[in-house]
Symmetry: C2
Subunit: 383 residues, 2 copies
Amino acid sequence: MSEHFPADSVGLVSPQSLDFDTPLTLDSGAVLERYTLVFETYGELNAARDNAVLICHALSGDHHAAGYHADTPHKPGWWDNCIGPGKPVDTNRFFVVCPNNLGGCAGSTGPLSLNPATGEPFGPDFPLITVRDWVESQARLADALGIETWAAVMGGSLGGMQALQWAVDYPDRLRHAVVIAAAPRLSTQNIAFNEVARHAIRSDGDFHAGRYYEHGVVPARGLMLARMLGHITYLSDDVLMAKFGRELRDGKLNYGYDIEFQIESYLRYQGESFVKRFDANTYLLMTKSLDYFDPAAKFDDSLAKAVARTQAKFFVASFSSDWRFSPARSREIVRALLEADLDVSYVELESELGHDSFLLEIPLYHAALAAWFQRIASDGGVP
Amino acid sequence: MSEHFPADSVGLVSPQSLDFDTPLTLDSGAVLERYTLVFETYGELNAARDNAVLICHALSGDHHAAGYHADTPHKPGWWDNCIGPGKPVDTNRFFVVCPNNLGGCAGSTGPLSLNPATGEPFGPDFPLITVRDWVESQARLADALGIETWAAVMGGSLGGMQALQWAVDYPDRLRHAVVIAAAPRLSTQNIAFNEVARHAIRSDGDFHAGRYYEHGVVPARGLMLARMLGHITYLSDDVLMAKFGRELRDGKLNYGYDIEFQIESYLRYQGESFVKRFDANTYLLMTKSLDYFDPAAKFDDSLAKAVARTQAKFFVASFSSDWRFSPARSREIVRALLEADLDVSYVELESELGHDSFLLEIPLYHAALAAWFQRIASDGGVP
């Protein structure tokens, strides 16, 4: 670990990757003959192999959850405030695994990868992936790493949905599920926002029906719009008001169509930065995964039935100002878990930071997570 | 009145128009040398000229508020459920005037009009218009119609903001202000949504910096996106869930990028219809008017001070599930009015129909409006 990094950081990390050549039949019926998963690990797997924690990322996340990459030494992983020595997910105790999801654009097989059938990038031919498919691919990763049972599967937002799906599909392979700022399935409004984002990308003249790689362009305008819109839904009205209010960029009104308010400038910046780091086809795929997520569907629409086979213990958390996946949605999950007679802890945290709260270092939130992971360690005999 | 129309309808109506050639200096400093206002009237102006009601339209509205046009005999005006013989705004008693706002695209001077300086449509050269500018142009319309004082100025959403601005700018020229589903000024989130809508239009390859008329195209994809997004914010999560839920268009999942859920189909239809009837430059202008609206700005940010000079009586209404301009925003208006010691009635209506509620025939809402207009009639001695 480099001395340039904070003492509670996992320090310098490098992604690993594993190739899988057992065909994976997807929910859609399509088959991935072979695929690669890129992932990072932090901490050490103990001799009993019972201290492993799977971190599942959300829509725009990747495998770089904690620590630093050599080429970006000032930018830690996306959940670095939560994962590290002495942090809530304490890497002195736990072996943490975070993969880039299938269909992603950070190294795991996805639309940017070469389609063996054509020698060209998959692009729009990459099959749609569901949360169930991710769980299946993550289970194979666990097999490859010699992890029979996760001490915990954990995630926020779409990541929390994966943790929930794990309890449905592999009820015996996790001891705890940590489901943060999630929902049992998307509401109509959630789907509607996703559809607007997709439509922005797909109607961009540079989209070329998803084959933009071949044209040497990216649908930058559409992806930028999708991100600007997404960003509004990640933040609460209150935090936007507190951060930007009606502050003017130039200190006065210009009565023109260029930027007047700081919030406009901020949104454009967010959109433009995102375009540089994210692939539009992956964005489409991730929003579809969200739309499709519905673990209760195959169990008479009863989430309680869906989770009935697990004995995993659940930690569920939500944030008061999250209007993308509001506390009411987390309470739906909690009610189903209680109906299934499961061990559930639920905390509804006061935060005016909106959906993004799950990524932020909010003291009460991190204290609750730390306490829960203390329990996970005790339950599992992890020292 | 045609016997083909319902008895409580104002029946067949025709727009009128008036040309104004006194230059209008706008908030932006620009000057409109001459302009035309298109408007409709319903009912009769009484001899005392004290029974006139001004209806102000919102973002995508126009002057056709009630009754039927000969060429669209099955499609009544946008507020027909509220305006007519025996309806809350009873045309047996009141003389109702509804103009198309300056900058609009339904006949009043706007981006589609010919710029006398060039002989070409104004397009992006049409000056930005504020709510104050609208009030000024409406005051001149009142002059032209011989209406010294409105019995009421009334509107919902952006229309309600005009009613509020009237009380600030012409405190003696209205006896009542009816302000429905409005806000004292836009929140950061409101502006953010507007900016995404504008960015969608402006980044459309067919926008041509607003000169799309000259290219024989319209920025249909951008305007469609703007409307789809707008539509989500006009409806509540609950009503979307009740109306569409997660219903599939084809009864099963197709695992493709085409429409899966009914809500997607509905949004696209809304977007496509809108493109056929609305001009993108006007949409941009209207969203800017919304952003700029801030009647308190010139009064030390005190709305109470802004309205201090009027003796108008206020009826303010909001809807429980409106998250675009929530009840909390109406309460801000009410607090300021009370601080200014004004006569205020405020009703917070239970409705799960979101912002769009103000356009709908909700019994308690219409009963409250009817009672208020009864009071307006009594106060003014209108029989």
